[in-house]
Structure formats: structure tokens, C-alpha cells
Symmetry: C2
């Protein structure tokens, strides 16, 4: 692995890392259709507002979402919708795993 590759892959890993948390994935799904303020998002999550805020900050840091202020509220919106389509392949992995599990349980 050259130093070039190291840099490239570390950057790529950083984006994936930002995605790799159930709460953050849920937040992204909420932002899929329209922007939302933190208060909206907090209602749906079983966690403190500050926790949600920090998750949003992680996604923003990674460049996945952006924010704008409107009065007292801050609205977040998805920057790269292709990410959500991308999860199709992740689902494929999960389905494959589920089938493999099933096959083990039923050894014909």
C-alpha cells in the first residue's frame, strides 16, 4: 500500500465510518425527502438532543449533509442522495448472510 493509496483509502474510510452507525443511518433516511431541524429528528430517536446533534455533526463533518439556520432552528439536508441508493448492495450482503444462516439450520 503506497502512501498515496493510504491517503485515498483513509479518506474513503472516513466517509464510511460516518455512515456506520444505526442512528446516523436513520437520520439520513429522514433527510431523504426533505430537510429537517434537530428538534424534528430528536423526536424520532431514543436519545438525548445533544447526542443527536453530535451525530449530525459527524455526518456534516464528513460532507454527507449540510445545515442552514432559519431563526432559532437549524435545518439539515442531505448533500449526496446517491448514498441512499448505495445501500442496495449492503442489503445484498445482508440477504446473502441470511440465506447462508438458513442453509446452516436446515442441512437437508
Amino acid at each position: 500500500m503506497t502512501e498515496q493509496e493510504q491517503l485515498r483509502l483513509t479518506a474513503r474510510a472516513a466517509v464510511l465510518k460516518a455512515l456506520a452507525h444505526p442512528t446516523r443511518l436513520w437520520l439520513l433516511e429522514q433527510l431523504q425527502q426533505q430537510e429537517h431541524c434537530v428538534c424534528d429528528l430528536t423526536d424520532g430517536v431514543n436519545a438525548d438532543i445533544s447526542t443527536v446533534s453530535k451525530h449530525l455533526s459527524v455526518l456534516k463533518q464528513a460532507g454527507i449533509i449540510s445545515s442552514r439556520r432559519d431563526g432559532k432552528k437549524i435545518f439539515y439536508r442531505l448533500e449526496t442522495p446517491c448514498l441512499l441508493k448505495m445501500f442496495g448492495c449492503v442489503e445484498a450482503v445482508l440477504e446473502k448472510n441470511a440465506k447462508a444462516q438458513a442453509a446452516l439450520l436446515k442441512p437437508s
Copy 2:
């Protein structure tokens, strides 16, 4: 977030988490064309064999790669090639970020 969603998103996050490390991304790229043994892969990475082995184990646990033994060697192979295509969108995020950076530096 319902309990259903929680489970679904945790599973999805687990796959993304397995991907979210530069060394593991590098290993996947090596496995893109053909299967490889641990010894092959260790040569290219600047890390202990045991470290590489553990990274491979993480990928295998997630169902992303599989392994087969052939004599003394163990060969790993990619199970879901679509994952590599998927990185196109991750690159899009990175490019967008790079442009945003550039724009900040050159405030016309």
C-alpha cells in the same frame, strides 16, 4: 425509530463498519480480481500478519468475503463485488468536499 428499524439499521451499520478502515478497503481492492492468501496480502500492507488476519476476519464476519483452505494456505475471495462499485458515490462525496475546500481558499 421502531425496534424493527433499529434492528435493520444496526445490521446495515455493521456492514458499513466492516468496510470503514483503510487497510480493509485495500484488502478488498486486492481481492477484486482474484482470490489471495493471507501471505500475499500481508506483503502489501505495512502491518503484522496477525493484524491482517484480524482485518480479514472482520470482513468475513460481515459476510463480505469468504475463505477456503488449500494446503497450508487459506485463500480469501470477495463475495459481493457490487460493494466496490458502490464506492463511486463515496468518491462523489470526497470530490464535493474537495471543491468546497477549494472554494473557501479562493474567495474570488
